[in-house]
């Protein structure tokens, strides 16, 4: 049984590459995919990159998307709508801390709903 996938979305490719590295040092059995920067790797986000990352992270357990700033969220929601994905959700939690906690929970087999619940209360101290 695969685990819930995680997609990291940022205006900067370097930001999500760094966060992916941090998470993968601790969590090995969870798909962590990234969508950073625009199609030409400038500052911004790309619907196509987000869709590609979802496809790579996808399993029947679903995918959670974490984002950094406003327009990243809009593009994440557009990606889900344009492709009509089931089981793919945008999470309103801090990008690094949220994705880290979600990855740990996913690695111990928690469901999409359970992880979403946990991430809703994340602060720096949790």
């Amino acid at each position: 049984m695969p685990n819930v996938g995680i997609v990291l979305i940022s205006h900067s490719l370097k930001v999500v590459e760094g966060i992916q590295e941090i998470i993968q040092q601790a969590v090995l059995n969870v798909p962590i995919e990234i969508a950073g920067g625009t199609d030409d790797n400038k500052i911004g986000t790309s619907v196509q990159k987000i869709i590609n990352a979802i496809v790579k992270a996808y399993s029947e357990k679903g995918v959670l998307l974490f984002y950094d700033l406003g327009s990243a969220k809009m593009n994440a929601e557009l990606a889900i709508e344009l492709y009509g994905y089931e089981n793919v959700k945008v999470v309103n939690a801090p990008l690094l801390e949220g994705a880290y906690v979600a990855a740990v929970e996913s690695s111990i087999g928690k469901s999409l709903e359970e992880i979403e619940q946990t991430t809703q209360t994340i602060t720096k101290d949790s």
Binding site: H11, G37, T38, D39, K42, I43, G44, T45, S46, V47, Q48, L69, G70, S71, M74, N75, E77, L78, L82
Partner: protein, 206 residues
Amino acid sequence: MKLDVQQVLNWLEKTNEKIQMNKEYLTSLDRAIGDGDHGINMSRGFQEAIDKTTTTTYISVSDVLKDVAMTLISKVGGASGPLYGTAFLKMSMVVKNRELIDKKTLENALESALEGILQRGKAQLNDKTLVDVWTPVVDLLKAKEVIKGSELEEVAKNAMESTKERMAKKGRAAYLKERSIGHLDPGSVSSYYLFASLAEVLSEEE
């Protein structure tokens, strides 16, 4: 009034001309209270959209608007991509299966586009976003039986100018709180170009 494929293309080309001409201006507005990418994003997005529409043959207005939507969604990396992209996508859905856009259809299309913008951006009226221009424009269309180009231009311009005195509650500018007052909202200015161009197309018909 009636808008056919050629008139919708004219509308888009006029909008693109204004955006290209004011690329630096839009960027300077966004640099004052945002991240300074609005001019670059809008000029790239609309130029790509025009490149697409001028090299395609259309029989329906819906397909024109859909191509613009998909181009903006895929080519604009900032907030204006998903917002304008959603607006054009909603318009294309409302005018589906119609060869012409009459006044009532235009009203419905713009209203649906505004709903899409609100749902996508989660902004409210007076948050100092493009919603502040789209809302009075939609209200004008709903209030009038006949729509005149000059009226449309005036309402859009006043609405755009009124964003200057407001405090931003959405987008990057919201982080500045009171310091956002005294600057025009860049998205409202680009929306003004869109409606001023539509007004020109309507006036040519009057």
